[in-house]
């Protein structure tokens, strides 16, 4: 069952990932990315990351991607107009190289990774409580510091987008 779910959602993720790369319209790419994020959320659940799976949906797919879609709409971005005609040979060469490279990486990971037991659903549960406890004890400082980060993002966005300096 775990394997089946993994395979299904892994395939969706990869498919959506490819779609992100090959679609010419940004909206299509954005939707593909949301697809990747959704399927990754399922995989997180499988791996026992319930908090992170929810955050993935709410923060990533919910907030960040909405922002993207909003900007795409705002700028009325259309489909990419090809500025050149890539020769077919180069195109296929690129694909072959990419696949070969990914295969190589997969091989290295497969070979180099210490042989551990497989993932089963429920094998590890990182509950929101666990995450919260750690976040406010060991990881207190980085947590607080990220507030500065958010503040900068806020100020930065305002500086760049407002009418007059």
């Amino acid at each position: 069952m775990t394997a089946l779910i993994f395979l299904i959602f892994a395939c969706i993720a990869v498919f959506c990932g490819i779609s992100l790369v090959v679609q010419t319209h940004p909206i299509a790419s954005a939707l593909s990315l949301i697809g990747v994020m959704g399927s990754l959320a399922i995989l997180y659940l499988q791996l026992g990351g319930e908090f992170i799976a929810m955050a993935q949906i709410i923060v990533y797919a919910g907030a960040i991607m909405v922002l993207f879609v909003f900007v795409i709409m705002l700028l009325n971005a259309g489909a990419e107009t090809p500025t050149f005609q890539a020769s077919t040979f180069v195109k296929y060469l690129g694909i072959v190289l990419l696949v070969a490279f990914l295969g190589l990486i997969s091989f290295i990971i497969q070979a180099a990774l210490p042989k551990t037991e497989g993932v089963v659903f429920g094998g590890f549960q990182g509950t929101a409580a666990d995450v919260g406890r750690k976040l406010f004890t060991s990881y207190l400082l980085p947590f607080e510091v990220t507030s500065v980060l958010i503040l900068i993002a806020l100020v930065g966005a305002i500086v760049l987008a407002r009418k007059e300096i």
């Binding site: 210490p114 400082l141 980085p142 500065v148 100020v155 930065g156 500086v159 760049l160 300096i165």
Partner: protein
């Protein structure tokens, strides 16, 4: 894991500089609203006060060194050195920015706040003892710098610089993160000391290969931030496009902080697998020096020329890292300090000279500066001579220590090629000197206004710093040597 997580007073003291700067940044933005238009100029004064307070508290924090916040931070000599350095860079760039912003009619509290935040991020990087802290510090520093690079948002060059810096920066950060993820997977921790211990424990061969891969991925991220080859490629465009005082800041502050984490991560965490990363640091150092110096030979835009020179200088520091020794770390620290001064000085001259809208940024425009404004030109000459590596300047001793460290580590060829490189480098710095002193003043020089207070302060402080490091190098070097022992 310590049982008590509640931060103690000592913990707060150790991050006091960061707290001061953050709070000041927020306050300054609030103050602007209360003060009204005509009081804006005081903002730079307040920013300066904040920086000065942070500087003092950073030095004070060194009186009580140690780990804090569950080993997230470490305050030691090394951290203090870089904290003081980046805060000093902040102050110097503040001085030159004030005048620039007024000139461009773009003075606002946000600029100062972002400057403060960026330096805060660099201070966090300097003190971080955890990969995740390093990452967050790096992002704070970078995001603030992205915005600063595009600060004059109606300027096309500013936009382009910001976009390039942002996209490529995030791209490289993703590599860094991927590396962090793998090192976490290999060692089960992101704490630098724990990683070191994990790598020291005799494990399987695969473990070392994975750690090496992770090191390579993290190297991509760090090398990008310090503009080391082959990841230096963004630097010329961004340095050219960003507002001059931001370039001044970028080329010194974030770079120094990135080198700080570079040194700490590779010396502390990856110390046990030196034989894996040393060769690629070696090659990168060589490549960086060559690309920087040779590309600078044919530049006509002075900001771009200095950008390539900045790349070349990163190469020298990489040589010190490749030496992989305590002397090497000390040499890198010393050189970064010297480099900060001379580079800031050079960019301050560019800031002063470029005029509104950065009209005059070609080397040829500087013609006759030596006769129109002898003092500015003389100070500029000091910086250029230091960049060339003439004795009695900081740049000379910086290079001296670096190549000595490299020789001690038996990197004979790197030393020879590095010295050859610095011989080539003399040529393009020289071109600026020639233009300044041996050409008749042109339109650009004749219309030049006197140097304002802020830039004058930057110039003089940098010149004094450059010369002090060149004449009394022991002061800084002793501190660097003492604290470099801690990075292991």
């Amino acid at each position: 894991m310590p049982a008590n997580f509640a931060p103690s007073a000592a913990d707060y003291l150790r991050i006091l500089p960061e707290i001061i700067m953050t709070v000041a940044g927020v306050l300054i933005m609030l103050l602007e609203g209360w003060l009204g238009e005509n009081k804006k100029r005081n903002l730079s004064v307040q920013t300066f006060v904040a920086f000065a307070a942070a500087l003092v508290s950073a030095v004070a924090a060194n009186g009580n060194p140690g780990l804090s916040f569950s080993n997230m931070l470490i305050v030691d000599g090394f951290a203090t050195f870089f904290r003081v350095l980046v805060i000093a860079v902040g102050i110097l760039s503040l001085f030159s920015a004030t005048q620039y912003l007024k000139r461009e009619h773009a003075e606002s509290s946000e600029y100062y706040a972002l400057l403060l935040f960026s330096v805060t991020g660099q201070c966090i990087m300097a003190t971080a003892n955890e990969l995740i802290m390093i990452f967050i510090g790096l992002e704070i520093s970078s995001i603030a710098t992205y915005v600063l690079a595009g600060y004059l948002r109606d300027d096309k060059r500013n936009n382009e610089a910001a976009l390039k810096y942002f996209l490529l920066g995030s791209f490289a950060t993703a590599f860094l993160l991927y590396g962090i993820a793998w090192i976490y997977g290999t060692t089960g921790s992101t704490n630098l000391s724990t990683i070191r211990i994990a790598l020291l424990t005799p494990g399987s061969e695969t473990n070392v290969i994975l750690a090496g891969t992770a090191a390579a991925l993290m190297f991509v991220g760090f090398a990008f931030k310090v503009s080391a080859a082959p990841f230096q490629i963004w630097a010329p465009d961004v340095y050219q496009g960003a507002p001059a005082p931001v370039t001044l800041f970028m080329s010194a502050g974030p770079k120094a902080a990135a080198f700080a984490v570079f040194l700490r991560v590779f010396m502390t965490a990856f110390g046990p697998i030196t034989s894996r990363w040393e060769p690629f640091v070696w090659s990168s150092a060589l490549l960086t020096m060559i690309i920087g110096n040779f590309a600078a030979l044919m530049q006509t835009n002075i900001k771009r020329l200095l950008a390539y020179s900045s790349i070349a200088n990163a190469g020298y520091v990489m040589v010190a890292i490749a030496a992989d020794s305590q002397i090497g770390v000390a040499a890198a620290m010393f050189y970064l300090a010297a480099y900060a001064f001379m580079n800031i000085g050079a960019f301050a001259v560019v800031t002063h000279f470029s005029r509104q809208g950065e009209k005059f940024v070609n080397v040829e425009d500087l013609a006759g500066l030596g006769w129109k404004q002898p003092v500015t030109a003389a100070l500029f000459s000091i910086f250029l001579l230091s960049l060339i590596g003439v004795p009695l300047t900081g740049g000379f001793f910086g290079k001296f220590y670096i190549f000595k460290a490299a020789l001690d580590a038996n990197l004979v060829w790197l030393t020879v090629l590095g010295l050859l490189n610095s011989a080539v480098a003399a040529y393009y710095y020289l071109r600026i000197l020639v233009v300044m002193y041996m050409k008749e003043p042109g339109e650009a020089t004749l219309s030049l206004q006197p140097v304002g207070v802020g830039i004058a302060a930057t110039l003089w402080i940098s010149a004094v710093g450059t010369l002090v490091l060149g004449i009394f190098p022991s002061v800084v070097l002793n501190f660097a040597t003492a604290s470099s022992a801690l990075v292991k």
